[in-house]
Amino acid sequence: MASVALSEAEKVYIVHGVQEDLRVDGRGCDDYRCVEVETDVVSNTSGSARVKMGHTDILVGVKAEMGTPKLEKPNEGYLEFFVDCSANATPEFEGRGGDDLGTEIANTLYRIFNNKSSVDLKSLCVSPREHCWILYVDVLLLECGGNLFDAISIAVKAALFNTRIPRVRVLEDEEGSKDIELSDDPYDCIRLSVENVPCIVTLCKIGYRHVVDATLQEEACSLASLLVSVTSKGVVTCMRKVGKGSLDPESVFEMMETGKRVGKVLHTSLQSILHKEESLGPKRQKVGFLG
């Protein structure tokens, strides 16, 4: 993962600051940095979103494609995740350098979406055993400024919220062979409910305390962190420890509680900002990549 080299003195400064609930950029331990979200930024996707969080910059595109359902789940569609670490983000990603990180993030995304409640996969099924929608969620890392997982999960949620899947009808003739028919109205489409899509809250153990939304510098001071995926109702769907250090059970419990609390707030503000953006309609002035 992208990292920065810090001197011992700098580390001590950061650790002592966290101890006093005062971080280098002035935040408290439970505060997020300012998050910028914009949806519908890539016109040839079914849904897209871009999230900027400090120096972290993420672009997510969702592409809906027609396919056949998985054998074990004949009446459900499914999601596929792919993470591309652009060499623009950091020179380490050049060549195949970002592949390991990409796979790690993709696997984490598979895990947090691997439950019935997160997305209504049944609504993606067009005709059981034959046709379903596959949502290809492509994540592109444009810049790494710490706390990748949280930013990616926010962007994925926003992109799924923005996703519009064309409405299709299945025509069946006497012989039973099926054919799909597409409506010629581009507005005639289905939306996904993102009510239960979880977000990841990463809690970094720094010294005796833990912080959310760590910057790169803070991450360098942490030996272990905990990923907690939380739904808008505060339900923890998945948890994972990263880093080489260890955590004692008591602090894990503490971190989970903080995760739930912070996650709920994160969801409400994300939800409200997405709805606000949507209400502006097609007349909205897009910021895009030039803003």
Partner: protein, 958 residues
């Protein structure tokens, strides 16, 4: 300003794709009205008139422009093409929709918009900032387009008002959609239906006839009886074809029997390649050349192709029962083997309607406005049209377009398009046959002519690069009399080593026609020069065909030469190709050349050269025939024309001289040499010509016919066929051999052009050559131009270009060339047939000896050797009692009363021009000898009009 257009598309694999296109909006698009200050003349091409005065419409007297919607353009293109309709704004939205829905209409509207005099203006409303509309929620693509059209119409009206208040210029929206019209009027746009508007043009009443009748009200009056079963919708057809329940194919109506058709199934399946359809209901409103979906009938309903000749002559519209009775005639008992897959049309995948030439059969009811139209092509059903000018159109050749074929109508509905001229008039008839055979015959456009070399033309230094100077050689050309497009010349001289040098020099057309320019494209489209009896439709402009490329004598011309070194036994020692400059010393006719060879007194260079060539040609021919080349025969006729009136005054079969075959031998040799060379150089994309061996079943008729005369014809190889044809001789019947050769010709397949990379069978069956191409007539065949280019690249005399080495492009080109060649042949035959009619018109009635060529169920086909004329003698006539007919398919023979007709029997027939019978004047033949009471006609010609009074009586009875 940048917008993006998004739409969804279904891919063939069943996926769904989202496509996003950038769409730029501009504010510098002109409105097309001259003098508009706001637009400042920012428009190109033909524009509208500032003060459109005509046509005077009673609905809107003030000057106005028209703005039609898509359906009006699609269906009423014939009206819009009329010179009376001018000043029309064609929106880009409309144009795009038309383009998607009908390519022919699109091409026609493009032609109209390009015509300066029509003042049609194409307004790119989709890119105009103020007229662009985006698809809204809950609106489908059609609604959006309708709205876009209305927005543009509204914008125009406001825009023109701004331009000059006193002018009162208006834009009138023409639509046939009732809802759309209502909406437009609501928005304050003056709107009319096409019918309303055309009817208001009091000065041009004839326009009403050109309106396509699509109004639903019209159909309600008709008898509600439904004759045909419904066509299935396209989606169902596609599903059916996918699952194999239906078969997709091209519908081909029978020329001889209007109740029968075959469908050629697309694809590679061996079985059920050809499906027979019989009876009106099974044909189900399909018209010749349509792409249809057919359903196979169960095996117990299969039928055999009938050999009955049946023409649709019913005047009454809905006597369906009678039709069924007729259909029953077709189903005679036949043995099991003859049964072919039979089916019925369940739906139409694509209509291939075109405007049809033909004549009006005026309705019996006086003052009726509905009349039937009989197309010249017998494969097309009669079409019902509505016209008020029936009496003026009677006896004239007209063009009619089909609009539709409702389920309750015996005939399709159509509308009048154009009046070509009087029947029997030479100009009109020529026009008809050119149109019917799809021969492009318009004068060459300015764009094409602009690529011609500037006159006076002479050979320059530049031209001589990569070119050999052969002007010193004693070259001469031998052609039929009156030939102005001389594309080949020959020479022969003795070399120092005693061998002979023979040169074939072909006009270097590819020097003048450079790849890809308008001249090249037009020539490629025409494909071939079409020779009619008194007219030639050139493939290249006259300057080239009759002057610069024509190898006339005593002028310097560019040529492409093929030069062989041969020994006296005509064995080729060396072959060389080069671009050259030649100067022909003499342009001879076949007869002149023959005379030179024969007269001992002449011994000049040209004559000795001809003699040598002749000698070599004889050896070459002998060798070719030994290899199994076929000498076939087809009756060819030549007319002697009156020099003033251009009427045919005499008819004779073509005479063949030694010199004909001399030229032919060397052309064959050159073609074969070139074919070898280009195939060697370009194994994947050489343009070659092949003649496939016919399947053995084709020969059945020939073998049967020969057997009846106790002769054996072997058909296993070309060689054995040639040999057995040579042996087939009967001392008592000298003409038999020719007849057999004529029949053998009919058994052959068509020779076709193909691209060597797309095929692996190159054999030319008729010439018994393993490889063949066309090189020797580039003035009149486009294939030769391509071969010239290939050869020029092969000998590094010219550079190549991408299309030349693209085998798919070449294959497409071959397809067009094959089609044009076939059509040219048909047009030629039709022209001969028409002139034969003219000839017999002047000649009156003649009795001639004839031979039976084919025996049909109710008729015999005879050939009259004297005129090389073929005709059918019918034995069943409508108004006469039916004779006892017995048809034996095995022999084949036809027994009428007590007389038996076999193939090749000699009969005597009377030939006359039958103009009593409605539309088609035709050569009518009736039997004179052998005499059969009640059928043959007495030998004396006193009661020649025997049919005439009877037919008239019949009409009164009705």
């Amino acid at each position: 300003m940048l917008k993006s257009k998004t739409f969804l598309k279904k891919t063939r694999a069943g996926g769904v794709m989202k496509i996003v296109r950038e769409h730029y909006l501009r504010d510098d698009i002109g409105c097309g009205a001259p003098g508009c200050a706001a637009c400042g003349g920012a428009h190109e091409g033909p524009v509208l008139e500032p003060q459109p005065l005509d046509p005077a419409s009673s609905l809107c007297p003030q000057p106005h422009y028209l703005l039609p919607d898509t359906n009006v353009l699609l269906h009423q293109i014939d009206v819009l093409e009329d010179p009376a309709i001018r000043n029309v704004i064609v929106l880009q939205t409309v144009l795009q929709e038309v383009r998607n829905r009908s390519a022919p209409v699109y091409k026609r509207i493009r032609d109209v918009t390009n015509n300066q005099e029509k003042h049609f203006y194409t307004f790119t409303n989709e890119h105009h900032r103020e007229t662009y509309v985006e698809q809204e929620q809950g609106e489908n693509a059609n609604d959006r387009n309708d709205r876009a059209i209305r927005v543009a119409a509204k914008w125009y009206n406001e825009h023109l008002k701004k331009m000059s208040a006193e002018n009162q210029l208006q834009v009138i929206f023409i639509t046939n959609d009732r809802k759309n019209k209502e909406k437009a009027i609501e928005e304050g746009i003056p709107a009319f239906t096409c019918e309303e508007y055309v009817k208001s043009l009091t000065a041009n009443p004839e326009l009403i006839d050109r309106l396509a009748c699509l109004s639903e009200e019209g159909n309600e009056i008709e008898s509600g009886k439904i004759i045909f079963s419904e066509h299935l919708p396209l989606s169902k057809l596609q599903q059916g074809i996918k699952s194999g329940t239906y078969l997709q194919g091209t519908f081909r109506a029978s020329r001889e029997n209007y109740l029968e058709a075959t469908v050629w199934v697309h694809g590679d399946t061996e079985e059920n390649k050809e499906i027979i359809l019989q009876g009106l209901k099974n044909l189900n409103r399909a018209i010749h050349e349509d792409i249809v979906a057919v359903e196979l009938l169960p095996k117990n309903q299969w039928v055999a192709p009938s050999s009955v000749v049946l023409h649709d002559e019913g005047q009454n519209e809905d006597d369906v029962e009678k039709e069924e009775e007729r259909a029953r005639i077709l189903k005679t008992a036949v043995n099991e083997k003859m049964l072919k897959p039979t089916g019925r049309v369940v739906g139409i995948i694509k209509r291939n309607w075109r405007p049809y030439c033909g004549m009006l059969s005026k309705s019996d009811i006086k003052e009726s406005r509905r009349h039937l139209f009989t197309p010249a092509d017998k494969r097309i059903p009669r079409i019902r049209i509505e016209t008020r000018q029936a009496s003026t159109l009677e006896g004239r050749r007209i063009i009619v377009a089909v609009d539709g074929w409702p389920r309750n109508s015996r005939y399709p509905n159509g509308h009048f398009v154009k009046n070509l001229g009087e029947v029997g008039d030479k100009e009109t008839e020529t026009e008809v046959l050119l149109l019917e055979h799809d021969v492009p015959h318009q004068p060459f456009s300015q764009a094409v002519l602009s690529f011609l070399p500037k006159m006076p033309w002479s050979i320059t230094e530049q031209d001589m690069k990569n070119r050999e100077d052969l002007r010193h050689l004693c070259v001469c050309s031998v052609d039929p009399p009156g030939c102005t497009d001389i594309d080949d010349a020959l020479h022969c001289r003795e070399l120092e080593n005693g061998n002979l040098e023979v040169g074939v020099h072909i006009a270097d057309v590819s020097h003048f026609i450079r790849p890809g320019n308008a001249l090249d494209q037009e020539s490629a489209r025409r494909g071939t020069t079409v020779y009619l009896c008194e007219k030639r439709i050139d493939m290249v402009p006259e300057l080239l065909s009759s002057n610069l490329c024509s190898l006339r004598c005593n002028v310097d011309r560019l040529a492409f030469s093929c030069i062989w070194e041969m020994n006296r036994k005509a064995e080729i020692l060396k072959t060389r190709f080069t671009k050259s400059a030649i100067n022909s010393k003499a342009s001879l006719t076949y007869a002149e050349a023959q005379m030179r060879i024969d007269s001992a007194a002449m011994n000049d260079d040209i004559t000795t050269s001809l003699r040598r060539l002749n000698k070599l040609a004889k050896i070459l021919k002998k060798r070719r025939i030994e290899k199994g080349a076929l000498t076939l025969s087809s009756p060819e006729v030549r007319f002697h024309m009156d020099s003033e009136t251009h009427d045919p005054i005499d008819l004779q079969t073509k005479e063949l001289r030694e010199t004909n075959s001399m030229v032919e031998e060397f052309m064959l040799l050159a073609n074969i040499s070139v074919a070898k060379k280009i195939h060697e150089e370009f194994s994947e994309h050489a343009l070659l010509r092949k003649h496939p061996a016919p399947p053995p079943s084709n020969y059945e008729i020939l073998i049967k016919a020969a057997k009846s005369k106790n002769l054996e014809i072997k058909t296993d190889t070309a060689k054995s066929l040639a040999d057995s044809l040579d042996r087939a001789d009967s001392p008592s019947f000298p003409y038999l051999n020719t007849l057999l050769r004529i029949l053998a010709t009919r058994c052959m397949m068509q020779a076709v052009y193909f691209c060597s990379g797309m095929d692996n069978d190159f054999h030319h069956y008729g010439l018994a050559s393993p490889i063949y191409t066309h090189f020797t007539s580039p003035i009149r065949r486009y294939a030769d131009i391509i071969v010239h280019r290939l050869l020029a690249v092969a000998i590094r005399a010219d550079c190549t270009y991408p299309e030349l080495t693209d085998k798919h492009k070449l294959a497409d080109l071959c397809k067009n060339l094959n089609f044009r060649h076939k059509m040219a042949q048909y047009a030629q035959r039709a022209s001969v047939a028409f002139h034969t009619q003219l000839f017999f018109k002047s000649k009156g009635i003649v009795s001639e000896e004839a031979y039976i060529l084919f025996v049909r169920k109710n008729a015999i086909v005879v050939l009259i050797p004297k005129y090389g004329l073929e005709g059918t003698v019918f034995f069943e006539e409508k108004d006469k009692p039916k004779p006892r007919l017995f048809y034996d398919d095995e022999i084949p023979s036809l027994k009428i009363e007590d007389t038996v007709f076999h193939i090749f029997d000699k009969v005597k027939v009377k030939i006359m021009l039958d103009s009593s019978n409605l539309q088609h004047q035709k050569i009518r033949m009736s039997l004179v000898e052998p005499q059969i009471p009640g059928i043959s006609i007495p030998t004396d010609a006193s009661n020649m009009d025997i049919n005439e009074p009877e037919r008239k009586k019949k009409k009164i009875e009705k």
